[in-house]
Symmetry: C2
Subunit: 418 residues, 2 copies
């Protein structure tokens, strides 16, 4: 029986399944974007760290390696731009927030060409170059976070939450690497730099903590190994806190710090790829399942409809799509309708369960967003830098014996009232 001849309830039931499938396919494309953007963020993180080293030291021999990292980043950027061009050509399904995020990110990426020349000629302070790269990476991660809202499937959402929080933690590690390079090159860390180092370590703990909550066993094992190898980085963190203008350390430690930390971040990149693969596989698997279910259902429905219209022409979904005979007391048509009704209930229940699981998984992302939003409110209200806003949040949390998320919630709620 052709679908266009099906009674309306059955047609809508199939349309619902197809819509679910399309959602999964769109999500798979988003996952692809997430993976490429992760690669670009990684390349920029490396370039940022090495730019810092290059700007802080006077060693011209670092220049070719820096140029190589720039070339790597530009190559990955070209891939990302190609993917985005496809999205711009057919933005039908893209949401306003995602498109806006992409616009902002492209703007930031466009700025990097000029910045790179300034870095090469050592005509920009390390702090400023660092901030520019951080803005660009931040804008990329913001795109990635937007894709999470499109996740329909609870399993996929869990994978995505693990990946996004891991990416966030990795970016915070990259910022710590850059900050450490500046301090160690100077021979000591200022109070502001020490506070920043502590703040970055605490934020990493938060992001990786959420990652651990949502990650799968093999990813967790890999993370264990990375943590076990982090002893030297942790010791150098402690050393950084003990430095002072009166007791400077050897500036050569900067390169050691950079190399140790880079090995750590490269290992993180390996795990990030593992997470991205798991996500892509989960998407592909769910799409295959949804296609299979759709086929099964279509078969079942048309058999049912043929049966109903053939064996009992005057029953439900008869020629005029209406009951002609008097139905049994329990309603209409009796036994034959049950499978359809059960299917509808089962589908509704499944979507409800997916919602519940998604709500839990998204809670973690919402918390991260709320902290960002609270920071933006503080920046707008008191003209603080992002760093200062973060420190104020942390101080308020510590003073009040609250979590960062709790303080952020209070700030956002108060701002909402005003």
């Amino acid at each position: 029986m052709a679908e266009r001849h099906m009674p309306p309830p059955l047609r809508f039931l199939l349309a619902a399944r197809r819509s679910e499938l399309h959602g999964l396919e769109a999500l798979a494309r988003s996952c692809d974007l997430v993976v490429r953007i992760g690669a670009l963020a990684h390349a920029l993180q490396k370039e940022r760290g090495y730019s810092n080293l290059y700007l802080c030291s006077a060693d011209a021999r670092l220049q070719p390696a820096l140029a190589g990292l720039t070339g790597d980043a530009e190559a990955v950027e070209a891939e990302v731009r190609q993917l985005l061009d496809g999205l711009a050509a057919d933005p039908g399904n893209a949401r306003a927030r995602l498109l806006n995020g992409i616009a902002y990110s492209l703007f930031r990426l466009d700025e990097l060409a000029g910045l790179r020349r300034l870095v090469r000629d050592r005509r920009v302070p390390a702090e400023d170059a660092d901030a520019r790269f951080t803005q660009a990476v931040g804008s990329l991660l913001a795109i990635v976070f937007e894709t999470a809202d499109a996740a329909l499937d609870p399993g996929v959402a869990r994978n995505l939450v693990a990946l996004l929080n891991f990416m966030q933690g990795k970016e915070l590690s990259g910022q710590e690497r850059a900050c450490g390079v500046m301090g160690y090159t100077a021979g000591c860390f200022s109070d502001a730099q020490k506070a920043r180092m502590l703040g970055l370590a605490a934020s990493q703990e938060r992001s990786f903590g959420i990652f651990v909550q949502y990650a799968e066993p093999d990813a967790l094992q890999c993370w264990e190994r990375i943590q076990q190898q982090g002893g030297q980085v942790r010791r150098m963190r402690d050393v950084a806190q003990r430095t002072s203008a009166g007791q400077p350390v050897d500036a050569g430690l900067a390169e050691l710090w950079f190399d140790l930390y880079t090995a750590r971040i490269d290992a993180m990149r390996g795990l990030e790829s593992l997470l991205a693969q798991a996500l892509a596989q989960r998407c592909a698997q769910r799409i295959a399942e949804a296609r299979q279910e759709l086929d099964d259902r279509r078969l079942l429905l048309s058999r049912y409809a043929d049966h109903a219209s053939g064996r009992a022409p005057s029953m439900v979904y008869g020629v005029h799509g209406r009951v002609v005979d008097a139905p049994p007391p329990d309603g209409v048509g009796g036994e034959l309708e049950r499978p359809i009704l059960d299917m509808m209930r089962e589908q509704a229940l499944r979507m409800q369960q997916a919602d519940d699981a998604l709500a839990a998984a998204r809670g973690a992302l919402d918390e991260t967003r709320r902290i960002d939003r609270a920071k933006r409110i503080l920046i707008g209200r008191y003209g603080l830098t992002e760093q200062a806003a973060h420190e104020r949040l942390q101080r308020a949390a510590m003073d009040g014996g609250l979590s960062l998320a709790d303080v952020a919630r209070q700030i956002v709620e108060q701002a909402g009232d005003g």
Copy 2:
């Protein structure tokens, strides 16, 4: 400057605005569906009430009026089906949950033809007919609630929350009218019927309470008037609670109750139309604003781009869309980029504020949904009827000194763990 020649960030910025506009247009179509479905629910509510009266009394003179109400409902149903057919033809933007809800609702509406014959021939108990109509109306309201998820604009979301909760309250009133007809025709209310009447009154209070929170002044004034005229219905509620098998009341009170309550529900329908109009107007207004903003922005952007490429051909967004000259220290291009950056920030902030407002407005709907979900869990676990599940929820709330929403949350959370 043609849009395809614009630099990528500007193109994505415009695409983001267009996506917002499309979202509003889709919402306006949903509003249309909500209005028509509201009319169908009203017609079925009336037919349900009169069917009850017809089945409980032996008076054959009621038959023509009942046939008239059936005809009214069928006429509105034909309109709704036409609107849905359009949606089935182009389900591209419809979400799985909405399509599934429509499938279920059409299934329930198809059943009514058979039920109506049973009613006409008095071959079905009043309780069963009542339950069938209630299922059909419930399935329609479920569709309406699904559309709320598509609301992007905070103002529109507030109007929608007010309307949906009012529709829910009105449906509970319709159920109370039907229940009252049964009790008054019998001359007294059973303990179960008394409990049901109390439960329905309490649930109405909840729904109308949320409506009052989100309604606009003119709607509130209208609601005040309806409440002031509700004295007789409230007195008859009290009478119902005092009836008993030993002290029956005159069965003629059934018709009085039906007429009084019908006048009340018809007045509610007037307010419902007012709310629907306000919603449609709000949508139309936001669409006009979004179009205007899009035009303004496009003009501004192309002027900017012309300007940048004309006066300073080697600046940002030059021939190759990249900076060619060395930029000033604050980044690239200087003053000219500010408007673009400000626009992006402003747009991101606006979307964030819309999100916050939406989250608050949706909280009320989510609560309603959570109570429904908790009921379904109890029905599945203990094989309860919907009514019994509702009563169990209410008892648990009363015993624990909690709100219905709190108890529902606990039940849903426990079920999620299992």
